[in-house]
């Protein structure tokens, strides 16, 4: 039997060039040649339609909408004293960094973060509120009028009066959603900002990282093998900041600055003669993972519980927790791992973190910012 490649007439090179000009087409082309990822039936639309039908029935029977019911239920729970944020392990003042990651506090029952998440999802799935949702994502909107529109459309009491308890709670949630959108936009822009070797600010920040992480050692030249000590790939750290841009550097500097002992511990672990890893590269991969969690809006329980709110600092605290926890995880493997096991170890680590986030755990080092 002849293989398909040999049997098929060779496609002309010009044809390929034309195809590769169009980036979007390219991916479908490759996929089309293979049999990758073609589920027999896409179930999603069917399920969504079913869900909508159920909602319509409930709405008809009770005269309330899901958004209203979500808010009302939380208020009801509060009245009964069921919803309280309970003890976060460890002190929550800001002392100098204690390098331990056993300090995962937990919010006893799913609290406000959970409500924000559900309202967010509710808005995302609503076909009638797509423009409102888009406005929230862009972070530039007249919150008052958008909220008012939703209150009326979603049949909040007293013809959408913004002063009812349910309406006020809803407004708080929308504020969190908008705040998060703004943060996502801000950090995405930072991640898209390239590290420019010609920019004195960028270079200064790189040296700051060195001073904070290795305070006893003199600064290396801008390009030097010494940067490998911090876990960069080569002589020039600039190339490593592709992908996560200045956000990767911001995060590393924050970690070294606010949690110096944790950074020191992680550096020591990363310098293990056998089970070494490249700290800065892990850091950049961690920024990417943390940003993805934020974009997927999985950090509501964190940002609603912290007094910092959805800010770059809260994000960086989350990042610091991740770095510290990763160091612990890696060290626990002892000499059973080498740097080539990083993908496997990191994958398992990400899975654990996602589980913790879903469970509403407060993933910050205990020295981080206090609660609201």
């Amino acid at each position: 039997m002849t293989s398909p490649v040999l049997r098929e007439p060779r496609r002309s090179a010009a044809g390929y060039d034309r195809l590769s000009e169009n980036v979007a087409k390219l991916s479908t082309f490759v996929r089309g040649r293979g049999k990758k990822t073609t589920a027999p039936v896409d179930l999603m639309p069917v399920l969504l339609a079913l869900l909508k039908a159920v909602k319509a029935v409930v709405r008809y029977l009770t005269g309330t909408t899901e958004l209203f019911r979500l808010c009302d239920r939380v208020l009801e729970d509060r009245r009964r004293g069921r919803l309280r944020i309970e003890g976060v392990a460890g002190p929550s003042g800001r002392s100098s960094g204690e390098p331990t990651s056993r300090v995962v506090g937990s919010l006893a029952p799913p609290a406000e973060g959970d409500l924000v998440e559900r309202i967010d999802r509710c808005l995302a799935y609503s076909t009638k509120l797509t423009s409102e949702r888009k406005a929230m994502d862009s972070g530039t909107l007249d919150v008052d009028s958008v909220v008012q529109g939703i209150l009326v459309a979603k049949m909040f009491p007293k013809a959408g009066d913004p002063n009812t308890p349910q309406a006020k709670l809803f407004r708080e949630c929308v504020d969190r959603i908008v705040e998060t959108s703004q943060l996502i936009n801000q950090l995405t822009a930072r991640a898209a900002t390239k590290f420019e070797s010609g920019d004195p600010d960028h270079v200064a920040q790189l040296f700051t990282l060195w001073d904070l992480a290795l305070p006893t050692q003199p600064r290396p030249p801008r390009e030097s093998e010494l940067w490998l000590k911090l876990g960069f790939q080569g002589r020039d750290p600039a190339t490593d900041f592709r992908g996560m841009g200045l956000l990767g550097l911001d995060n590393l500097v924050f970690f070294a600055q606010r949690h110096p002992r944790s950074m020191k511990r992680m550096l020591e672990i990363s310098h293990h003669p056998k089970a070494w890893f490249s700290l800065a590269i892990v850091g950049i991969n961690m920024t990417s993972f943390a940003l993805h969690q934020l974009r997927k809006r999985r950090l509501y329980s964190l940002t609603t519980a912290l007094s910092l709110g959805a800010t770059a600092t809260a994000f960086a605290e989350f990042y610091s927790y991740l770095m510290d926890a990763f160091a612990t995880t890696w060290a626990a493997h002892g000499e059973a791992v080498t740097v080539m096991d990083f993908p496997r170890v990191f994958k398992a680590f990400r899975k654990t973190v996602k589980k913790d986030l879903r469970a509403g755990r407060l993933l910050v080092l205990n020295t981080a910012a206090g609660l609201r």
Partner: protein
């Protein structure tokens, strides 16, 4: 399991091709892999360790291994040589001049590896979209490709970002391999 199924399985197994992507750090190996696989390439972090992807391509099942290129993990490259049918060597065509010597030395030392003997060699002169990128001819000269007698090789100027010529290169390497190992089909 019927006899036909067994035969089919064997057949499928036969059609597997193992490709190893190597090159210096920041050459664009992961970007190429993700682009070929139709994934988002806007935020790619440096590879610590390796990535592996399996994709179907012209009736072949390609197992593509992309191993990180930083100097300190190059000593691990050899763990991935076994059964490699094709080696894709990725070059940053806009790299700093002093790195091409390193690039050439690493490539030529790979070619002396017994376990890579017989593997088809594709050189991707990547990042052709960048200003100041050297042409594939210039790269061929810098890497002294003419001296390579031991392997079938081909150099292709490409850009993982725009997608230019990636398929040309992949087609060459898959065809070259299939001619060699599946000739009896």
């Amino acid at each position: 399991m019927g006899l036909l199924t067994v035969l089919k399985k064997l057949k499928q197994k036969e059609k597997e091709i193992r490709i190893l992507i190597l090159g210096l750090d920041n050459a664009g190996k992961t970007t190429i892999l993700k682009r070929i696989n139709g994934e988002d390439i806007s935020t790619i972090s440096p590879t610590l360790g390796f990535n592996i992807k399996t994709l179907d391509y012209n009736g072949y099942k390609l197992n593509i291994w992309d191993v990180g290129g930083q100097k300190s993990i190059r000593s691990y490259w050899r763990n991935y040589f076994e059964q490699t049918d094709g080696l894709v060597w990725v070059v940053d065509s806009a790299d700093r001049p002093d790195r091409f010597a390193d690039c050439k030395a690493e490539l030529h030392s790979l070619l002396t590896e017994e376990r890579l003997a017989g593997a088809s060699l594709l050189i991707f002169a990547n990042k052709q979209d960048l200003p100041g990128a050297l042409s594939s001819e210039e790269i061929a000269k810098l890497l002294d490709l003419k001296a390579i007698q031991t392997h079938h090789w081909q150099i292709v100027g490409c850009s993982a970002v725009t997608g230019d010529n990636l398929l040309t290169g992949m087609d060459w390497v898959v065809t070259d391999i299939s001619k060699r190992i599946y000739m009896l089909d």
